[in-house]
Symmetry: C2
Protein backbone atom coordinates (compact mmCIF):
# COMPACT_ATOMS: atom_id res chain seq x y z
CA UNK A 1 0.00 0.00 0.00
CA UNK A 2 1.07 3.59 -0.55
CA UNK A 3 3.20 4.80 2.35
CA UNK A 4 1.31 8.09 2.88
CA UNK A 5 -1.99 6.22 3.14
CA UNK A 6 -0.44 3.66 5.46
CA UNK A 7 0.90 6.43 7.72
CA UNK A 8 -2.54 8.05 7.87
CA UNK A 9 -4.24 4.75 8.72
CA UNK A 10 -1.76 4.19 11.55
CA UNK A 11 -2.60 7.63 12.98
CA UNK A 12 -6.34 6.94 12.87
CA UNK A 13 -5.84 3.48 14.38
CA UNK A 14 -4.42 5.12 17.53
CA UNK A 15 -7.79 6.73 18.30
CA UNK A 16 -9.75 5.11 21.14
CA UNK A 17 -11.57 1.89 20.12
CA UNK A 18 -10.50 2.23 16.48
CA UNK A 19 -8.70 -0.76 14.94
CA UNK A 20 -6.81 -1.00 11.66
CA UNK A 21 -9.93 -2.10 9.78
CA UNK A 22 -12.06 0.84 10.94
CA UNK A 23 -9.14 3.25 10.43
CA UNK A 24 -8.70 2.02 6.85
CA UNK A 25 -12.40 2.57 6.18
CA UNK A 26 -12.20 6.12 7.59
CA UNK A 27 -9.09 7.05 5.62
CA UNK A 28 -10.46 5.72 2.32
CA UNK A 29 -13.77 7.54 2.86
CA UNK A 30 -11.86 10.78 3.52
CA UNK A 31 -9.48 10.41 0.56
CA UNK A 32 -12.22 9.41 -1.90
CA UNK A 33 -14.50 12.25 -0.83
CA UNK A 34 -14.61 15.04 -3.38
CA UNK A 35 -16.24 17.69 -1.15
CA UNK A 36 -13.04 18.51 0.75
CA UNK A 37 -14.02 16.75 3.98
CA UNK A 38 -10.44 15.66 4.67
CA UNK A 39 -9.10 19.23 4.48
CA UNK A 40 -11.88 20.66 6.63
CA UNK A 41 -11.32 17.91 9.23
CA UNK A 42 -7.59 18.68 9.27
CA UNK A 43 -8.21 22.41 9.63
CA UNK A 44 -10.81 21.96 12.40
CA UNK A 45 -8.27 19.78 14.20
CA UNK A 46 -5.48 22.34 13.89
CA UNK A 47 -7.84 25.16 14.92
CA UNK A 48 -8.92 23.19 18.01
CA UNK A 49 -5.40 22.20 19.08
CA UNK A 50 -4.25 25.80 18.77
CA UNK A 51 -7.07 27.27 20.85
CA UNK A 52 -8.37 24.54 23.16
CA UNK A 53 -6.66 23.95 26.51
CA UNK A 54 -7.75 22.85 30.01
CA UNK A 55 -9.50 25.50 32.14
CA UNK A 56 -6.90 26.71 34.65
CA UNK A 57 -9.36 26.29 37.53
CA UNK A 58 -11.13 22.98 36.88
CA UNK A 59 -9.47 21.25 33.89
CA UNK A 60 -12.49 21.32 31.54
CA UNK A 61 -11.42 21.83 27.90
CA UNK A 62 -12.10 25.40 26.76
CA UNK A 63 -10.83 28.14 24.46
CA UNK A 64 -11.30 30.86 27.09
CA UNK A 65 -9.14 31.68 30.10
CA UNK A 66 -11.63 29.87 32.34
CA UNK A 67 -14.35 27.46 31.15
CA UNK A 68 -18.05 28.23 30.81
CA UNK A 69 -18.86 26.41 34.08
CA UNK A 70 -16.27 28.28 36.18
CA UNK A 71 -17.29 31.58 34.55
CA UNK A 72 -20.98 31.02 35.42
CA UNK A 73 -21.64 32.55 38.88
CA UNK A 74 -25.02 30.76 39.06
CA UNK A 75 -23.07 27.52 39.30
CA UNK A 76 -21.32 28.61 42.48
CA UNK A 77 -23.86 26.76 44.66
CA UNK A 78 -21.40 25.12 47.05
CA UNK A 79 -21.31 21.81 45.16
CA UNK A 80 -18.17 20.48 43.48
CA UNK A 81 -18.38 17.34 41.33
CA UNK A 82 -15.09 15.49 40.88
CA UNK A 83 -14.80 13.51 37.64
CA UNK A 84 -12.08 11.57 35.85
CA UNK A 85 -12.06 13.43 32.54
CA UNK A 86 -13.83 15.90 30.30
CA UNK A 87 -16.08 13.31 28.67
CA UNK A 88 -17.66 12.68 32.10
CA UNK A 89 -18.53 16.39 32.30
CA UNK A 90 -20.32 16.12 28.94
CA UNK A 91 -22.27 13.06 30.11
CA UNK A 92 -23.37 14.80 33.32
CA UNK A 93 -24.26 18.03 31.47
CA UNK A 94 -26.35 16.07 28.97
CA UNK A 95 -28.31 14.46 31.82
CA UNK A 96 -28.96 17.88 33.41
CA UNK A 97 -28.64 16.29 36.86
CA UNK A 98 -25.97 18.58 38.30
CA UNK A 99 -25.84 22.38 38.48
CA UNK A 100 -22.66 23.09 40.41
CA UNK A 101 -19.00 23.30 39.41
CA UNK A 102 -16.76 20.52 38.09
CA UNK A 103 -13.24 19.37 38.83
CA UNK A 104 -11.49 17.19 36.24
CA UNK A 105 -8.71 14.99 37.66
CA UNK A 106 -7.35 13.86 34.28
CA UNK A 107 -7.04 10.19 35.29
CA UNK A 108 -7.14 7.80 38.24
CA UNK A 109 -4.39 6.84 40.71
CA UNK A 110 -2.91 3.56 39.53
CA UNK A 111 0.04 1.60 40.85
CA UNK A 112 0.04 -0.57 37.71
CA UNK A 113 0.22 2.40 35.30
CA UNK A 114 2.49 4.38 37.67
CA UNK A 115 0.05 7.29 38.05
CA UNK A 116 0.73 9.19 41.30
CA UNK A 117 -1.14 12.11 42.92
CA UNK A 118 1.32 14.53 41.24
CA UNK A 119 0.14 13.38 37.80
CA UNK A 120 -3.45 14.35 38.61
CA UNK A 121 -5.23 17.66 39.16
CA UNK A 122 -5.66 17.08 42.92
CA UNK A 123 -3.46 19.62 44.76
CA UNK A 124 -5.68 22.65 44.02
CA UNK A 125 -8.96 21.15 45.31
CA UNK A 126 -8.32 22.46 48.85
CA UNK A 127 -7.85 25.98 47.48
CA UNK A 128 -11.08 25.75 45.47
CA UNK A 129 -13.05 24.67 48.57
CA UNK A 130 -12.00 27.86 50.31
CA UNK A 131 -12.26 30.29 47.37
CA UNK A 132 -15.55 28.99 45.98
CA UNK A 133 -17.15 28.23 49.37
CA UNK A 134 -17.66 24.55 48.55
CA UNK A 135 -19.62 22.65 51.20
CA UNK A 136 -20.22 19.35 49.37
CA UNK A 137 -17.86 17.33 47.21
CA UNK A 138 -19.64 14.78 45.02
CA UNK A 139 -17.42 12.02 43.63
CA UNK A 140 -18.59 10.86 40.17
CA UNK A 141 -15.58 8.61 39.53
CA UNK A 142 -15.63 5.17 37.85
CA UNK A 143 -16.96 2.45 40.15
CA UNK A 144 -13.62 0.58 40.07
CA UNK A 145 -10.74 -0.12 42.45
CA UNK A 146 -8.80 2.82 40.94
CA UNK A 147 -11.83 5.10 41.30
CA UNK A 148 -12.34 4.17 44.96
CA UNK A 149 -8.59 4.49 45.72
CA UNK A 150 -8.48 7.94 44.16
CA UNK A 151 -11.60 8.97 46.07
CA UNK A 152 -10.11 7.79 49.39
CA UNK A 153 -6.85 9.58 48.67
CA UNK A 154 -8.62 12.88 47.93
CA UNK A 155 -10.74 12.59 51.11
CA UNK A 156 -7.54 11.98 53.14
CA UNK A 157 -5.92 15.16 51.77
CA UNK A 158 -8.97 17.21 52.79
CA UNK A 159 -9.49 15.94 56.34
CA UNK A 160 -8.85 19.36 57.91
CA UNK A 161 -11.67 21.04 55.95
CA UNK A 162 -15.33 20.94 57.03
CA UNK A 163 -16.64 19.97 53.59
CA UNK A 164 -18.99 16.96 53.29
CA UNK A 165 -18.37 14.13 50.83
CA UNK A 166 -20.76 12.01 48.81
CA UNK A 167 -20.52 9.54 45.97
CA UNK A 168 -22.96 8.37 43.28
CA UNK A 169 -25.22 5.50 44.40
CA UNK A 170 -24.30 1.99 43.21
CA UNK A 171 -26.98 -0.47 42.15
CA UNK A 172 -29.12 -1.96 39.44
CA UNK A 173 -29.40 0.44 36.46
CA UNK A 174 -32.82 1.70 35.36
CA UNK A 175 -34.46 -0.98 33.22
CA UNK A 176 -31.74 -3.41 34.32
CA UNK A 177 -32.74 -7.08 34.24
CA UNK A 178 -31.26 -9.04 37.18
CA UNK A 179 -30.32 -11.80 34.73
CA UNK A 180 -27.74 -9.53 33.16
CA UNK A 181 -26.32 -7.82 36.27
CA UNK A 182 -22.87 -8.91 37.47
CA UNK A 183 -22.35 -10.24 40.99
CA UNK A 184 -20.40 -7.18 42.14
CA UNK A 185 -23.23 -4.81 41.25
CA UNK A 186 -25.78 -7.15 42.87
CA UNK A 187 -23.74 -7.23 46.09
CA UNK A 188 -23.60 -3.42 46.13
CA UNK A 189 -27.33 -3.16 45.37
CA UNK A 190 -28.16 -5.56 48.24
CA UNK A 191 -25.84 -3.79 50.67
CA UNK A 192 -27.40 -0.42 49.80
CA UNK A 193 -31.03 -1.61 49.78
CA UNK A 194 -33.58 1.05 50.75
CA UNK A 195 -36.40 0.64 53.27
CA UNK A 196 -39.78 1.30 51.62
CA UNK B 1 -20.06 22.69 24.97
CA UNK B 2 -17.31 24.79 23.40
CA UNK B 3 -18.14 25.54 19.75
CA UNK B 4 -14.73 24.57 18.36
CA UNK B 5 -14.91 21.18 20.08
CA UNK B 6 -18.49 20.70 18.89
CA UNK B 7 -17.45 21.49 15.30
CA UNK B 8 -14.63 18.96 15.48
CA UNK B 9 -16.93 16.26 16.90
CA UNK B 10 -19.38 16.87 14.04
CA UNK B 11 -16.57 16.39 11.50
CA UNK B 12 -15.47 13.12 13.10
CA UNK B 13 -19.08 11.92 13.34
CA UNK B 14 -19.32 12.06 9.53
CA UNK B 15 -16.72 9.28 9.20
CA UNK B 16 -18.13 5.85 8.24
CA UNK B 17 -19.70 3.95 11.16
CA UNK B 18 -18.75 6.67 13.67
CA UNK B 19 -21.58 8.12 15.78
CA UNK B 20 -21.55 11.21 17.99
CA UNK B 21 -20.53 9.17 21.04
CA UNK B 22 -17.48 7.61 19.37
CA UNK B 23 -16.59 10.93 17.73
CA UNK B 24 -16.69 12.68 21.13
CA UNK B 25 -14.39 10.01 22.58
CA UNK B 26 -11.93 10.45 19.68
CA UNK B 27 -11.90 14.25 19.89
CA UNK B 28 -11.38 14.29 23.65
CA UNK B 29 -8.56 11.74 23.39
CA UNK B 30 -6.88 13.89 20.73
CA UNK B 31 -7.30 17.18 22.59
CA UNK B 32 -6.17 15.78 25.95
CA UNK B 33 -3.11 14.10 24.45
CA UNK B 34 0.10 15.94 25.26
CA UNK B 35 2.33 14.23 22.68
CA UNK B 36 1.03 16.23 19.71
CA UNK B 37 -1.05 13.42 18.20
CA UNK B 38 -3.75 15.83 17.02
CA UNK B 39 -1.27 17.97 15.06
CA UNK B 40 0.46 14.99 13.50
CA UNK B 41 -2.91 13.51 12.49
CA UNK B 42 -3.91 16.83 10.90
CA UNK B 43 -0.60 17.13 9.05
CA UNK B 44 -0.71 13.52 7.79
CA UNK B 45 -4.24 14.22 6.54
CA UNK B 46 -3.20 17.39 4.70
CA UNK B 47 -0.12 15.66 3.27
CA UNK B 48 -2.27 12.77 1.99
CA UNK B 49 -4.99 14.97 0.47
CA UNK B 50 -2.35 17.03 -1.34
CA UNK B 51 -0.54 14.05 -2.86
CA UNK B 52 -2.98 11.15 -3.07
CA UNK B 53 -5.30 10.86 -6.09
CA UNK B 54 -6.84 8.02 -8.09
CA UNK B 55 -4.52 6.21 -10.57
CA UNK B 56 -5.42 7.52 -14.03
CA UNK B 57 -5.63 3.97 -15.40
CA UNK B 58 -7.41 1.94 -12.73
CA UNK B 59 -8.66 4.31 -10.01
CA UNK B 60 -6.53 2.89 -7.15
CA UNK B 61 -5.42 5.64 -4.73
CA UNK B 62 -1.76 6.52 -5.26
CA UNK B 63 0.71 9.39 -5.06
CA UNK B 64 2.36 8.48 -8.37
CA UNK B 65 1.17 9.09 -11.90
CA UNK B 66 0.03 5.46 -12.11
CA UNK B 67 -0.43 3.11 -9.14
CA UNK B 68 1.94 0.35 -8.03
CA UNK B 69 -0.27 -2.35 -9.62
CA UNK B 70 -0.49 -0.68 -13.05
CA UNK B 71 3.26 0.08 -12.95
CA UNK B 72 4.12 -3.58 -12.22
CA UNK B 73 4.59 -5.38 -15.59
CA UNK B 74 4.52 -8.77 -13.82
CA UNK B 75 0.85 -8.09 -13.10
CA UNK B 76 -0.01 -7.83 -16.79
CA UNK B 77 -1.15 -11.47 -16.88
CA UNK B 78 -4.35 -10.98 -18.86
CA UNK B 79 -6.59 -10.86 -15.76
CA UNK B 80 -8.55 -7.75 -14.73
CA UNK B 81 -10.41 -7.73 -11.42
CA UNK B 82 -13.27 -5.23 -11.22
CA UNK B 83 -14.02 -3.95 -7.70
CA UNK B 84 -16.28 -1.32 -6.16
CA UNK B 85 -13.68 0.74 -4.33
CA UNK B 86 -10.12 0.95 -3.13
CA UNK B 87 -10.79 -0.84 0.16
CA UNK B 88 -11.71 -3.97 -1.86
CA UNK B 89 -8.28 -3.83 -3.52
CA UNK B 90 -6.65 -3.80 -0.06
CA UNK B 91 -8.74 -6.81 1.06
CA UNK B 92 -7.81 -8.80 -2.06
CA UNK B 93 -4.13 -7.83 -1.79
CA UNK B 94 -4.06 -8.91 1.85
CA UNK B 95 -5.45 -12.33 0.91
CA UNK B 96 -2.80 -12.74 -1.83
CA UNK B 97 -5.38 -14.52 -3.99
CA UNK B 98 -5.09 -12.37 -7.14
CA UNK B 99 -2.00 -11.36 -9.12
CA UNK B 100 -3.42 -9.41 -12.05
CA UNK B 101 -4.54 -5.82 -12.49
CA UNK B 102 -7.41 -4.01 -10.79
CA UNK B 103 -10.15 -1.70 -11.96
CA UNK B 104 -11.93 0.43 -9.35
CA UNK B 105 -15.45 1.54 -10.34
CA UNK B 106 -15.93 4.01 -7.47
CA UNK B 107 -19.47 2.84 -6.68
CA UNK B 108 -22.38 0.75 -7.91
CA UNK B 109 -25.17 1.63 -10.34
CA UNK B 110 -28.20 2.61 -8.28
CA UNK B 111 -31.56 3.95 -9.35
CA UNK B 112 -32.38 4.88 -5.75
CA UNK B 113 -29.20 6.94 -5.25
CA UNK B 114 -29.26 8.25 -8.85
CA UNK B 115 -25.87 6.75 -9.78
CA UNK B 116 -25.63 6.28 -13.56
CA UNK B 117 -22.85 4.69 -15.69
CA UNK B 118 -21.38 8.17 -16.25
CA UNK B 119 -20.72 8.51 -12.50
CA UNK B 120 -18.60 5.35 -12.49
CA UNK B 121 -15.20 4.46 -13.95
CA UNK B 122 -16.71 2.17 -16.64
CA UNK B 123 -16.10 3.79 -20.04
CA UNK B 124 -12.36 3.06 -20.16
CA UNK B 125 -12.60 -0.69 -19.48
CA UNK B 126 -12.88 -1.52 -23.23
CA UNK B 127 -9.70 0.45 -23.91
CA UNK B 128 -7.84 -1.38 -21.12
CA UNK B 129 -8.88 -4.78 -22.53
CA UNK B 130 -7.19 -3.89 -25.80
CA UNK B 131 -4.10 -2.10 -24.45
CA UNK B 132 -3.33 -4.54 -21.64
CA UNK B 133 -4.33 -7.69 -23.59
CA UNK B 134 -6.95 -8.67 -20.99
CA UNK B 135 -8.53 -12.07 -21.64
CA UNK B 136 -10.47 -12.57 -18.39
CA UNK B 137 -12.52 -10.09 -16.41
CA UNK B 138 -13.19 -11.19 -12.83
CA UNK B 139 -16.04 -9.39 -11.07
CA UNK B 140 -15.41 -9.03 -7.32
CA UNK B 141 -18.40 -6.77 -6.68
CA UNK B 142 -20.73 -6.89 -3.66
CA UNK B 143 -23.18 -9.81 -3.81
CA UNK B 144 -26.18 -7.43 -3.91
CA UNK B 145 -28.79 -6.31 -6.43
CA UNK B 146 -26.68 -3.22 -7.22
CA UNK B 147 -23.56 -5.35 -7.65
CA UNK B 148 -25.29 -7.75 -10.06
CA UNK B 149 -26.90 -4.89 -12.02
CA UNK B 150 -23.55 -3.14 -12.41
CA UNK B 151 -21.92 -6.42 -13.48
CA UNK B 152 -24.62 -7.06 -16.11
CA UNK B 153 -24.32 -3.51 -17.41
CA UNK B 154 -20.52 -3.79 -17.82
CA UNK B 155 -20.86 -7.16 -19.61
CA UNK B 156 -23.42 -5.60 -21.98
CA UNK B 157 -21.03 -2.77 -22.90
CA UNK B 158 -18.28 -5.28 -23.74
CA UNK B 159 -20.26 -7.75 -25.87
CA UNK B 160 -18.16 -7.06 -28.99
CA UNK B 161 -14.88 -8.06 -27.27
CA UNK B 162 -13.72 -11.68 -26.95
CA UNK B 163 -12.86 -11.40 -23.27
CA UNK B 164 -14.26 -14.01 -20.86
CA UNK B 165 -16.14 -13.05 -17.71
CA UNK B 166 -16.22 -14.66 -14.27
CA UNK B 167 -17.50 -13.74 -10.84
CA UNK B 168 -16.58 -14.81 -7.30
CA UNK B 169 -18.36 -17.99 -6.12
CA UNK B 170 -21.32 -17.56 -3.76
CA UNK B 171 -21.91 -19.91 -0.87
CA UNK B 172 -21.33 -20.80 2.76
CA UNK B 173 -18.22 -19.03 4.14
CA UNK B 174 -15.33 -21.07 5.51
CA UNK B 175 -16.19 -22.09 9.07
CA UNK B 176 -19.76 -20.91 8.49
CA UNK B 177 -22.39 -22.60 10.63
CA UNK B 178 -25.64 -23.24 8.70
CA UNK B 179 -27.57 -21.96 11.73
CA UNK B 180 -26.25 -18.47 11.07
CA UNK B 181 -26.44 -18.35 7.26
CA UNK B 182 -29.24 -16.31 5.68
CA UNK B 183 -31.74 -17.90 3.29
CA UNK B 184 -30.37 -16.06 0.24
CA UNK B 185 -26.87 -17.42 0.75
CA UNK B 186 -28.25 -20.92 1.39
CA UNK B 187 -30.24 -20.77 -1.86
CA UNK B 188 -27.10 -19.74 -3.78
CA UNK B 189 -25.02 -22.43 -2.07
CA UNK B 190 -27.61 -25.10 -2.99
CA UNK B 191 -27.89 -23.89 -6.56
CA UNK B 192 -24.13 -23.94 -6.97
CA UNK B 193 -23.54 -27.30 -5.21
CA UNK B 194 -20.52 -29.24 -6.42
CA UNK B 195 -20.47 -32.95 -7.35
CA UNK B 196 -17.93 -34.85 -5.24
Amino acid sequence: MNIKIEKLIKQFAKLPRVGTRAATRMVIALLQDKTGRAESLAHALIDATEHIHPCQICGVLTDGEVCEYCADVARQNGELCIVRDFSDVLVLEKSGVFHGRYHVLGGMLSGVDGITPNDLNIACIAQRIEQEKINEIIFALPNTVEGKTTQQYIISTLNNTDVSFSELASGVPLGGDLDYIDDGTLTLAFGGRKKL
